[in-house]
Structure formats: C-alpha cells, structure tokens
Subunit: 647 residues, 2 copies
C-alpha cells in the first residue's frame, strides 16, 4: 500500500527523493542545486564588487576620452575644461549613487529603477524603466565584448576577419560561467577585476606622484588628433555636450540596485556598502585620469586610446607595466558583460513575476540562477553582434540612452517617495508593497537632491537623443515603445487568463452531466483498437465507433471483423470520396456537437500506435496526433489516448 492510500487525511505533503541523474549538462554547468541551497548561493561584498562593478569601472577606460573628443571641436585650449567637467560628472555620480544607496535600503528585494518607478510613479514609467534597462543590458554585452575584441584585434590584426565569431564565443563563454551560478561566476571574474583596479590605482598614483614631484613629462610622440568638426568656439552647448558624453562614466552605477538579492544577509547593508565603494573607486579613478590627462597633453585619437597615452607616459614607454595596463583594460571591457549577465536575468525575473514577460523567466534553473534570462541575453546580444558585425562604432550610439532614462525615472521616483514621506507624522511608518515609508525630517533636502539628480540625468537623455539621433539613437526610440507594447500584450494575456480561470466568480461545479458519449475512431480492427474499445466501455455504454473508409474493400473487411469483435458496439462507416481521413471525422464530430444536449460530455477515445523506434513514425500517418491537434481547440471535447506499444 502506498502511503497516500491511508485516507485519514486527504492531503499528503511529501518530499520527493528524486535527485537528477548525472548528464552532460552537469559537466558543463555543474550539478543541480536544491532550492534550500539558495542562501548559500549569495555573495559577499568582496565578490559582489567584482561582479557588479566591472561594468561601471570599465567606463573609466573611455569616459575621459569621450569628453576630449567633443572638446576637440574647439581646439586644444578647450581641453582645460576636462577637469572641471569631470568634477561636475563626479558630483552627478555622487547624487545618483546616493539616490541608489537610499533605494537599496528602501527596497531590500531589489530596488532598481523598475521597482522604484513602479511603486512611486506608476505602471507606464515602470515599463519604460524596465524596457530601457533591459535594452541597455543587452547593449552592454554587445558593446563591451565587441570593444574588448576590438582591442585584441588591434594587437593581432590577423584575427580581424574572425572578430564576429570570437565575440560571439566570448558572449557564450560568459553565459556558461553565469549558468554555473552567481557564486562561481563571481569567483571566476574577481581576480581580473581586482587586478584592473590595482593597476589603475598604481598608474594614477605613480602619475600624480611624478606630477607633483615634477618628474612627469608630456606624451611622447602623441598620435594624430582626429578633428571631425570645424573649429568652433567654446559655447555652453559644447560644454553641455562634453558633459553628456562624459556621463558614460556613470553607466553601470545602477547595477547593484538590481542585484541586491545576490548578496548575503544583511543584504541591503552589504549591497549599500558595495555601492559606496564602487562609486568611490569609480569617481577617484575617473578624476585622477582626467586630471593627469590634462597635464600630460594627451589627445583624443582613433589610433591610440587616452589610457594608452597616459600609461606609456607614466610608466616611461611600452614596458611590462604598460602592457599589463592595456591587457587589464581589455579584460575589464569584456567583463563589463558579466555585470549585465548578473542583472538582466534578475530584472527580467522581476518583470516576469509582474506578468510583463513570459513567466518562465522567473523560474530558477538547475544552478539557482534565472537560466532563461541568461540564455535570452546571450542569444539577443549575439544576434546584435552578428547583425552589426561586432562594430563598436555602430553599437555605441544605441548605448547609454537607456541607462540615463532609467536614472531619471529612478530619481524622480525617489523624489516622489520623499514627498510621500513628508506627509507622514514624525515617527510614523507605512508599509507599502515591498518597502516601508518611514518618517525622516530631512525629507525636503533629500527630495531636492533626488529631484536635482533627475533633472540632470533628464538633460543628459535629451542631449543624447538629439546629438546621437541620426547615429542610431532613433532605433532605441523606436525599440522602447515596441518593447513596452510587448510587455502590455503579455500582461493582458496573463491577466485575462487569471480572470477567466478565477474561482472568485465561479458558481461551483455544474450539475453532473446527464450523458457521456464516447466516440472511437477506428482505422482497423486489431488488438490495439480492441484495447481502446475495452477502455471506452468502461467510460460509457453510449459508444460510437467511427471508421472513415477510403478503400471500400477495407471497409468490408473491417465490418466483418467488427461483427466478430465489436461486442455489439455501434459502428459508423463514413465513406470518404476525396480520400481524406481527418476532415470527414471532424465533420462528424461537429455534427454530434451541434446535436448534443446541455451538459453532455463527449470523449474521443483514440487508439494511438506508439512505435518503439523513432524512424517507424515515418512509416505511419500519425492520424491520432493530427486528430488531437484539431480537436483540442474545440470546447467541450475530451480526448483520451489509449496507446498501444509495439516492440
């Protein structure tokens, strides 16, 4: 007797001792982890910084250069604006980081722009934030991997023609590591990240020391400067444009807020501290690089990066240290993709839980990560790389608008939240969805800070949209509404479904059906069909066997056999003059449906031949499956397969 046959309590809850057997997937991504392991699959601050900071830190590799490129339009005198602009950007960085730090504590289950917008601004802003972030994560993977591979290719030009497969290879390599779980990918990528941080601090530190001790010279043999614009004056617009370009340094700053759940408990605290550290490292390196750049006379160029110019000036030529800096930069560019792999699946899982993406994206895979999201990210990013041929120049304009849009929404959401908090009595607390509103007497200051941040980032979005529109930013502005439309369609499907299936308005089971009709399609009379007949007789006494006759001789034979074996059950032979099988049967069923009484149940019992070898399927017209597909969509018909296996 099975345990559940003891009927003392009708509900039995038992643990399954099912353990997945070894298979090739385990070799690739590791053995499955039970759900109970989830708390152990979180990461501390050290690994967390490596996982979530690589995207943000990689932007130090190009942010200063982006500012220089714009200022170059007004000639080299304009380069003196680099450091002041960098200070302004670091202030903005501080505001945004501060805002996210607050958010992390307010939303311990994940406090990205999507959630903050959803809870404070409403559905549409939330969807905009979600769509822009998801787009941006995809672009992060494509852009950063393409940029890293571009660095490799400039070192080994013979690889040029293979850059697309190499890039796609990296995308899938990072995917595989991420499918192994958040802990393992953190461990795998921690070393190169810290190596980069260390080397950059070393370089900037030595540079500053040599500058203040007066031993730092100018860039030797500077590359030719590319000036695409005609010489212009130093206008406020130019400064604003340079500022916007430099805000590329901020991309990736939001990563931690989307990934709070990856941290060990106390997760808000751990995530918050990691964020502060990340912002500090990012800000200081960026400022240091910008400062030094201005004093060594580095110029923006397509042939040599500013980092390269700086490294060879500080380290006195192309020695070991110089090459280490270049390689570390290459690796951090590729690793920026890893941050996207950490965040995209988490964000899409949150969005999917709200019913705006396929629900499968919220399922945790065998290694407790959101495998669907990871694979989806890899596929779309690879597609983008293939379509745009791994060209960084064609990918870059699509990038960064999304991030700043989400910054704006997130800060606006936080400002609104402070407004709500301002309405509370001192000491009062209100629980609101995933967060708690708690009275704070500095709410006005905080609201102003967040509001100011929102305005600044909104300006950046506007400047970006205008200056990069024709370069490809228009694609993003078309893509976002389409994504939001997709979200809405998916959501409508799920909510309609839930409403239709809901038991709230359900009147309870209908009265027992008065009649149960069984239809038994027959292609021949043999052991398989007699088994189906036997089962049909258990269901009801009202059985009609139906044979669609294509060959009259067959029909005669079948009829004789049925007289012997049919147990007196009614047999209808339908002549099919056009040698069709499914259609006449469907028509017959249709006829019965129109004549049926209310609450009559109709079951089609289909004898289904199951071959023992797959190729045997080619030798049979699988009418059972065809019939099933046709009938499933008709309401009120139940389909029973009585399989007969033949060895």
């Amino acid at each position: 007797m099975l345990p559940e046959e003891d009927n003392s309590h009708p509900i039995i809850h038992r643990a399954t001792d099912y353990v997945p057997p070894r298979n090739w997937r385990h070799w690739l991504i590791g053995r499955p982890l039970p759900t109970a392991d989830a708390p152990h699959q979180t990461i501390g601050k050290f690994t967390g910084l490596a996982v979530f900071a690589s995207d943000a830190l990689s932007s130090t590799a190009y942010a200063t250069q982006e500012i220089l490129f714009i200022l170059a339009a007004a000639g080299t005198m304009a380069f003196s604006y680099v450091f002041p602009i960098s200070i302004a950007i670091v202030v903005l960085l501080a505001i945004v980081a501060l805002s996210y730090e607050q958010t992390i504590h307010a939303y311990p289950d994940g406090g990205g722009s999507y959630i903050v917008s959803r809870d404070n601004l409403g559905k549409s802003p939330a969807l905009i934030a979600g769509a822009s972030l998801l787009t941006d994560y995809i672009l992060t993977v494509s852009v950063s991997v393409s940029a890293g591979v571009a660095q490799i290719v400039s070192a080994y030009p013979e690889l040029l023609e293979y850059r697309v497969p190499i890039s796609v290879g990296f995308v899938f390599f990072v995917m595989l590591i991420n499918l192994r779980g958040v802990k393992e990918s953190g461990a795998a990528f921690a070393f190169p990240t810290y190596f980069f941080i260390l080397l950059m601090y070393l370089t900037v530190g030595v540079g500053l020391f040599r500058y203040f001790t007066g031993s730092l010279g100018f860039v030797d043999n500077p590359p030719e400067m590319d000036i695409t614009h005609t010489l212009a004056g130093i206008t406020p617009f130019l400064i604003l444009h340079a500022f916007s370009s430099g805000t590329a340094a901020l991309t990736g700053i939001e990563a931690i807020s989307n990934g709070i759940t990856a941290f060990k408990e106390p997760r808000s605290r751990n995530a918050g501290i990691t964020l502060v550290w990340m912002a500090f490292i990012l800000g200081s390196l960026f400022l240091g690089i910008s400062y030094l750049t201005g004093h060594i006379g580095a110029v923006p160029s397509e042939t040599e990066t500013v980092i390269s110019q700086m490294a060879r000036t500080i380290h006195d030529g192309r020695g070991v240290l110089y090459h280490m800096v270049i390689w570390a930069t290459t690796v951090i560019l590729i690793l920026a993709a890893n941050t996207a792999y950490a965040d995209f699946p988490r964000l899409s899982a949150i969005v999917a839980k709200d019913g705006y993406l396929p629900r499968q994206m919220s399922f945790r895979g065998s290694r407790l990560v959101f495998s669907y999201g990871i694979v989806t990210l890899a596929l779309i990013a690879s597609l983008l790389i293939v379509v745009l041929q791994a060209s960084v120049n064609r990918l870059i304009p699509l990038y960064a608008i999304g991030v700043f849009l989400s910054f704006t929404l997130s800060q606006a959401g936080m400002a609104r939240r402070w407004r709500k908090i301002g309405r509370l009595q001192p000491g009062q607390e209100i629980a609101e969805r995933g967060s708690t509103l708690r009275y704070n007497r500095n709410w006005q200051l905080k609201m102003v800070i967040n509001g100011f941040g929102a305005v600044c980032t909104a300006v950046v979005v506007a400047v970006f949209s205008v200056t990069k529109f024709s370069d490809g930013a228009w694609m993003v502005l078309i893509l976002l509404p389409l994504l939001i439309l997709m979200f809405s369609l998916i959501h409508r499907h799920y909510s309609t479904l839930a409403k239709r299936l809901s038991l709230e308005v359900f009147a309870g089971a209908a009265p027992r059906a008065t009649r149960h009709r069984v239809i038994l399609p027959l292609s021949g009379v043999h052991q398989g069909s007699l088994e189906a007949l036997r089962y049909a007789r258990r269901l009801s006494d009202d059985i009609t066997a139906v044979h669609v006759s294509i060959d009259p001789d067959e029909a005669v034979k079948l009829r004789q056999k049925w007289e012997n074996w049919g147990e007196g059950v009614r047999l209808v032979i339908l002549d099919s003059p056009y040698r069709l099988f499914i259609e006449p049967l469907l028509k017959y069923v249709e006829e019965i449906l129109t004549h049926r009484q209310p609450d009559e149940t109709i079951t089609i019992v289909v004898p289904q031949f199951i071959p023992s070898k797959a190729w045997h399927n080619l030798l049979h017209t699988n009418t059972a499956t065809l019939l099933r597909n046709e009938l499933l969509s008709r309401p009120g018909i139940i389909i029973t397969d009585v399989p007969y296996q033949v060895p």
Copy 2:
C-alpha cells in the same frame, strides 16, 4: 436524433457529404477528385504514347552517338559497324518489347519487372528489380532534365551559372503538372512529343529520299572528333562495348509495363498496342538515324551532337527546320522526365502495398495520383542535381545499369513462367496471384526468346558494370544493396506489427479490470483544473491529485484552495527541491505502476490549457504535452486531456 442512434442495426454505412473547401492548393493542382472518378482519369493510346514514350524516344537523340564514341577508338573505319550493331540492338529491342507485350497481357494490374520477378522468381529478385527501377527513374529525371538544360545553356551561355536552379525549376514544374493528374499531364505534354516524332520522321524521311536520289552530301565542316583512347584494333570486345553503349536506346521501353493501370479499359490491350507502336517508332527512328549517320560521315564530338550534324546536312544548313529539330530534341529530353513521373509513383505504390516502402506511398492524393511518390521523386532528383551540379557527365554513368538489371530479371521471370506453363495440360488454366497461367503450345519457343533476351541484357549489365565501374557505376552497386536493406527493414516493421496486432491468436478481451486509478496532475486550482477534476470523478472514485511543488508559498495557497474546492479528493504534494516538474511526477507514476494490481487501469487526467493564439504558447511551459510524450511510451497508462480554452 442522429440517424445512428436508431439501434436497429449496429453497423451504419453512410456517405460523407464532405467536400473539401477551396484553398490555394486547388489553384495550384486543381480541385480534388472523388475516388469514383478514377475510371475517367485514365488515358487512351494517343495520350498514353505521349506520356510513356517520351523517355524511350528521347534516347534516339543520343544512342547512335554513344556507339560512335566507342567505335572511334578504332578509327573512322570502325564506323561501318554502326548500322550492323544498330540492327542487333533493334533485334534486342524487339525481344524485350515482345516480352513486355506478353507481360502486359499476363499482368493487367501492372506488369513491371518487380511484379514479374516477384511472382516468378521470388522475393529477392523482385526487390532487386524494384530497387533498380526506382533508382533508374530518379536518375532519368536528373539526367534528362540536366541534359535538356545543357542544350539550352549551350544556346544561351549566359545562363550557365543558373543551370542548377533552372534544372530544379523544371523538375518541380513537371512535378506540379503531374500532381494535377495523369490526364492533365498527358494532355500538357502530348503536343511536344508528337511534334518531336513528326520532325524526326520528316528529317529521316527526307534524308533517306535524298540519299537514294543521290542528292545527300557529307557533313559540311564536321566538328573535331574527340578520341580519348589510343587507336585500337576492331576487337570483339570493342564491338560488344559499342553494342552495350548503344543499348541506351532501350531505356524507357519498360515504362508502359509499369503504367498499365493508367490506361483506359481494356487496359492490357491498349497498353500492349501502345507498347508495340512505341517500339516501332523507336526502332525505326533509331535505325534510320544510324543508317544516315554512316552515310553522311557524321563523327562523334563533344561540341556538336550527331543529331545536329545530321539535321544540318539533311536540311541544308542551319535553317528553320534545323532549329526546330534542335528545339524538339531539347524538349523531348526534358519530357523524358515525365515518363519517370508517371512510373515511379505507380511502382512505389505497388512496392508500398507489399509493405516494402512507407504505406503512405500507396495513398492516392487529391487528384487521384500517388502524390507522395511524385513529391518524393522530385525531391530526390533535385537533391541529386544539386549535389552533382546538373552535370550530365557525372550523372550518366549511374544511369542504365538499373534498367538492364530489371530487363534481365523481367525476362528471366517470363522464361520461368513459360516453363511453368509448359508443365500444364493442354487447355488447363491456373490462377496465380494477379495473373492466370494458360496453356500455350509454343511455350518452348517463347521460353527460348525470353531466355535469350535475359542473357543478352545480362551481358549488357555485366559490360556496363565493368566499363563504367570507376566512372560512378560503383555508386549504384552500393546503393542497390542499401535500398534493398531499407526495403527489408520496412517490411519487417510492418509484418511484426501486423503479427502483434493480429486477432488470430488473440484470446479475447481480458476480464474487466478490478480497479481504475486516476491521477490528476495539478499546477494550480482554477476553473480549468476543476473541470478536469469533475471529469476524473466520472471515471472513478479512486482519484489522486498530484501537485509538484517548486515554490512552498504556492503549495500552501494551493492546499487551502483544494480544501475548499477539491471535493475531498486526495491531494499529494510532492516537494521538488531541484525545481523540476516532470521528473518527480514521472517517478511518482512509476511508483504507482510498480505497486499496481494485475489488470488495474491507470488513467492520467491532464488539464491542458489551450491558448487562443499560437504566440501565447511561448508564455506557458507546456507541461501537459511534455508529460504526455513521456508517458505515452509506458505500457498500461491511458492519457486523457481535458482541454480548457481561454479566449
């Protein structure tokens, strides 16, 4: 009340008034024809000659040239052997044709080599004959279309790079016409066939007239002769080799014997007369061409065909008549494919009926032709054209061995048949499968004729195999055994199946099962699953609902809902620590299967969500289908789908 609910007689036979609605297929291949139209879908002698003779007649376009190519090895003096060799070939043609004429009357339901071998020689020779003929029909399509397109391409060299798509296009064009039905393809292709016959007779007739009146000169400006062999003597082997090559004239002669059922009644008589006419036209044209060739000094060449040399000599240069001859030859080469389209599907239907090919090949399509066979032929022939790049030279060596193998078997079979007839008493008749053995006092003579034919064609097969082995004939010699192996595997499957399902040794229905267990997998409690529960309750009182729990919160909610709505039915909740759904459920079912009592029936009632739009499927993990696929192969489980449609 439906008519079948009158239970006075349990077997009701009724015609379906289902008429297929118009759709795009009808535009392409015509409206479906009812089976009753079959007698009207036969063709008379006039159309029959066009359909079945094009393959044979097209060989007059190259047979003489093939002889010349071989004889050229011994220098131009050897060309005087062309006519004697041609006479020998025509004698062989007469023997083979005679044999087939006899066969047609003996086997009115189709008397190709396959049937004659099967009924007189046994299973293995029949399969060899079937495999060689089917291979040869495929090659006929590839070779003749490629050869026709090669002619077109030599007229319009700018089409050279498109020859593969053009050839494939022709293959599918002829396929489409054939899918329209035998009558329509006959009508479509009758004109070009008769046009070719007329033009050839005109050319040969004018040629002979001018020769005998002395006004026929020699080939003007003959093309350069290609002699690939070193000059050799006129050995018996050379003559034999030339004879074998010339027997290419006989390919296609068997076509009518495979296609008897396409003829109007009296079909044996009609088919026989058509065969005699075809053999007469073929023989006389071939002899005429060979005769004239020798007297105008035509030479074999890769740059100009013998037909072209003859036509411009007879018609005094490249005038209108000359061009008409060339075009008619091109068209007849392509139309030779049409004969294969008429025969391949018929032969494969016969082989399929015997259980050596997928049974679907014996089903008549909407236009009463064997559509599966037609489409299969087009697909394989196209594949061959694509693989061998429409190169006639690479296709030709594969060709003709199959035909002669089947001639040999067919003649040997007929000889054996005469031997059997010789054992009968005068006037005696014995029915044997599809034919009747009838005493004939000339049986010895007829046996000798067929036996001699068999020996001659066997010699041709041997010479072919040897001389063309390294050119690609080895492929055929590998392919044939593989095909026969495939036939045998298919046959074994069908016969094992028939034996297993047979009612001969069936002990009758087992005693009524003592217990009916129902298992109801649940993913949630909603209207859909309650409908399934309601149905399950009609089946049995022994129901176990099973929920595989991935999320403990869900399980708690489900449990509460079940307490309200579950009607007291037992619910088993299986915790799935590895977040798998199917596997724990399968393990549970497995457990029940091992504990089950003899004759216990187990039904799995699966609530299945049916989305109204196909893309909605992406938003659901279709566990019902996955479960079904896994369970169908396990004996003793019945699967019932209770679909719930959500608009």
